[in-house]
């Protein structure tokens, strides 16, 4: 975790503000990590945000099915 630390990282609030957009890009087969790299980086570092993201994807996939 220490070695992955960047000088500038977004916090949980900024990640949350963009998470729905990030998830939708993912489900559309686009590349959210390129469009929103700071969100991707935060998800790699924050276990709670990553858990919420994974649950959100699961929920959206279930609704779309």
């Amino acid at each position: 975790m220490v070695k992955m630390t960047l000088d500038h990282e977004i916090g949980c609030d900024d990640c949350y503000d963009q998470l729905h957009e990030f998830a939708e890009l993912e489900l559309q087969g686009k590349t959210p990590e390129k469009a929103m790299p700071s969100v991707k980086e935060h998800l790699e570092r924050c276990g709670n945000c990553r858990q919420e993201y994974e649950a959100l994807l699961k929920a959206l996939e279930s609704v779309a099915a």
């Binding site: 220490v2 630390t5 939708e24 924050c46 919420e52 699961k58 279930s62 609704v63």
Partner: protein, 220 residues
């Protein structure tokens, strides 16, 4: 064929645009829209949360959706349209559910107890850490212990008490960030930034001391 098409769509709710959702959920909200959104959220949350809920999944999801709907209605005017409205609403419901589960799971954990226990055993844990899973030879073991002692010294010198408490709870004990934030009287975002500052300090100090963070402390 045409009749079949008409029949198959007869029971399907018309899809709403983002504008429809916002308009119909803006006070006074339409009961029919709330009901429709509730169905969507329940359908999504059950498979998303089932692995975290020990029992009474249906009731837990119903309660979560009820609380989430209140938040969604409260902040519907903040939806900016970057996604489907239902994606945004689902995000709020997912956080509601997971937050509740985390708080319930850790409701009996006190950070003060962790600190008290760590005062007795924490340094031993650090001293017993090894860089790899393999048993090192005596020379390597001595070298590793020296580095670990230097790391402990860096932690003592570089981090504030708050940063030590937060990093200990989050990284050594795996307690969720919002639970730690609650107990430290702060919020999740501020705590993330506090820990980010701590990680930066540690990274800079490790580099300054010539210790490669790649070589060790992957778990910190």
């Amino acid at each position: 064929m045409f009749n079949w098409f008409k029949k198959s769509n007869k029971n399907k709710k018309p899809s709403r645009s983002n504008e429809d959702w916002v308009e119909q959920l803006t006070p006074p909200p339409s009961e029919e829209s709330i009901s429709h959104l509730r169905i969507i959220l329940v359908r999504g949350l059950k498979p998303a949360l089932y692995k975290y809920v020990d029992r009474e999944l249906d009731q837990f999801v119903e309660d979560t959706v009820q609380d989430a709907l209140l938040k969604i209605l409260d902040k519907v005017d903040t939806f900016r349209g970057e996604s489907k409205f239902t994606t945004w609403a689902m995000k709020i419901a997912v956080r509601e559910g997971l937050s509740e589960l985390r708080r319930a799971k850790y409701k009996d954990i006190s950070l003060n107890d962790l600190v008290a226990n760590d005062d007795e055993s924490g340094r031993d844990e650090i001293n017993q850490m090894s860089f790899t899973d393999d048993q090192p030879g005596p020379d390597r073991a001595t070298h590793e212990q020296m580095i670990l002692q230097r790391v402990q010294k860096m932690i003592d010198e570089e981090l504030t008490d708050k940063q030590k408490t937060a990093m200990n709870a989050l990284m050594m004990h795996g307690i969720p960030i919002e639970v730690v934030a609650d107990q430290m009287g702060t919020n999740r975002n501020a705590l993330y930034k506090l820990v980010h500052d701590a990680r930066l300090k540690m990274k800079d100090r490790l580099m300054a001391e010539g210790i490669d963070p790649d070589e060790m402390l992957n778990q910190l």
